[in-house]
Symmetry: C2
Subunit: 337 residues, 2 copies
């Protein structure tokens, strides 16, 4: 049974995944290349994943058979268990919650060798619609207090399968990092009576040096205090708190800027490993006025080492102004629609 355990000093929660517990000799494997020709996310292998939660598929096709273009399935090795109740208990001085939660996989395309940077724009839009759908469904469960959508691309970024996919983990508690962002943006709001992210957008327009890509509704830029080389954020230009409320033209424009930004990173850095994480408020959470949803893309080019772990400081060897310039200079293909 997985457990959520709380660090008594930092109030940071850790998921102790007791069920797939690893022994010393198991760790060799995790650092090796995911091998083998078999892929559970390919057409024809639908029965090798847990049954699908939803799929976008042709009218005459059946669930868990080919004919889909997007599939959402439970993670076969989930970090959290939807069958548990999120019961709290003490363990001496320590705090524990039973490991309730969900862990889903969004299979972004049936095409094994594709990726979000090179898929047709139409398909990327479908991925965003799938995110929105699952986000809104899970948000309704009163036991769930946060829904995190993220992507690991490439072995160095923690992906165990190459086939294009994103993941979603829904948890009974709001993660520390999100609380810090909500509180930090509130501190700014108290002082300025404005959203700090809206102010960042304005400053990026004034300077232009960190801008990477923009369209009518979104801006992609390198943050001023980027932790990592080529770290790139995408923000809606208008003040938006909850990703789950995205719709219509916003979905289209978000898909477009996401695809184009990932394409620039793909070309400039030769398909690097990367993670992206959607940071958002959810219904019922404090922060409507001062928090602003955004996507953080982090190429994995440097190693996080002792100094970073020990301090929470980061050393970034590529100033964001230089990184933005390299990304802007990438030659873009014709728009596909």
């Amino acid at each position: 049974m997985p457990e959520l355990r709380k660090d008594p000093v930092l109030k940071r929660w850790v998921i102790i995944a007791t069920e797939r517990s690893k022994r010393p000799h198991d760790f060799k494997k995790t650092l090796e290349e995911p091998g083998g020709a078999f892929c559970p996310f390919d057409y024809g292998n639908e029965h090798t994943t847990p049954p699908e939660i939803i799929s976008f598929r042709g009218k005459d096709t059946k669930p868990n058979e080919p004919g889909w273009w997007i599939r959402v399935v439970p993670n076969k090795f989930p970090a959290l268990n939807p069958e548990l109740e999120p019961e709290k208990f003490g363990h001496g001085m320590y705090d524990v919650i039973k490991g309730f939660g969900t862990h889903e996989v969004i299979i972004e395309t049936p095409e094994h060798n594709q990726n979000l940077a090179t898929l047709p724009l139409k398909q990327v839009k479908e991925v965003i619609w799938a995110y929105k759908y699952r986000f809104n469904e899970l948000e309704k469960d009163p036991r769930i207090n946060y829904v995190l959508i993220f992507k690991n691309h490439g072995k160095e970024a923690g992906a165990s399968l190459q086939h294009p996919h994103s993941q979603l983990i829904a948890t009974p508690i709001v993660p520390k990092r999100v609380i810090e962002e909500i509180e930090g943006s509130y501190d700014y709001y108290k002082f300025k009576e404005r959203c700090v992210y809206c102010d960042m957008l304005n400053q990026e327009y004034l300077e232009k040096t960190r801008m990477v890509e923009e369209n009518k509704l979104f801006l992609a830029f390198e943050p001023f205090a980027a932790r990592f080389p080529f770290e790139t954020w995408i923000l809606p230009k208008a003040h938006r708190f909850n990703f789950g409320e995205i719709e219509g033209e916003e979905v289209e424009q978000f898909a477009q800027i996401l695809k184009n930004t990932l394409y620039r990173i793909y070309k400039a850095l030769d398909n690097p490993p990367f993670n992206f994480m959607l940071h958002t408020g959810i219904a019922g959470m404090e922060g409507e006025k001062h928090y602003h949803w955004h996507l953080e893309i982090v190429p994995r080019l440097t190693r996080v080492a002792g100094f970073e772990w020990g301090s929470g400081f980061y050393i970034n060897p590529t100033p964001p102004e230089y990184a933005a310039k390299y990304l802007r200079e990438v030659e873009m293909p014709e728009e596909d629609e």
Copy 2:
């Protein structure tokens, strides 16, 4: 000129290392094996490092020549620059400090193929004395507000050289992570009027299941909410705030438990990559009563991926109780003194 830049939401500082700025094609190299037979930390190559700050060496030997057993030198590619003044300035809405600070390397032995787990205990004690000496020297500089001692061992843990060495970075600001620990331990102190780390020691003795190694003055254990498999902390049993005040028997006992704990990890996990970080108060800092210095050892066995970056949550596939058992079962060599 390196800059410290502050994230306006999270108040996290980032060192933007403008001088050794990396372009897209530079990143291929950082993921490759450090190669070549030449090592600047070997005997005879002393002239290839910046001139030594201190060394422990034979009476008839000269600085920057062989005959030493410990050498401390400035990092040849420092993240921060001791020649700058830590001047603060604004950049629009953002905050910047000129990249003042020091970055030093503690060469732990002349023997290239050794490591702290296998060096004679006598030599490990000398390493601790070197830590203490540099820590106390730097603490005196009023421009320096924190001194972080850490070690990267192995390529996966960010080490660019194999020769045994630790590092020290002294910064003009107290890192976010340290502030969080000081504040978190103060919250506990307000409630309990006790040090949370002292209480952890007591709880670990009650349960015994997470204990790894102990001696008269120190305990090594797997923390209850361990982020990583085989994460191990070493704490002085008595309440101690400032590592810089370590002396006499404490140095000896700390060297012994550090060596033995690293040896257990070395054997159980076949010389894994790891980081360790010394978390401590320094003179003049708040927290004497509620903060307690400790060393955190983190073997690098799993990859930190999108979920961790996005949430501040960690998923640990090895319960600390199991990890402790494996480490306790390691067969130890005879004590060497």
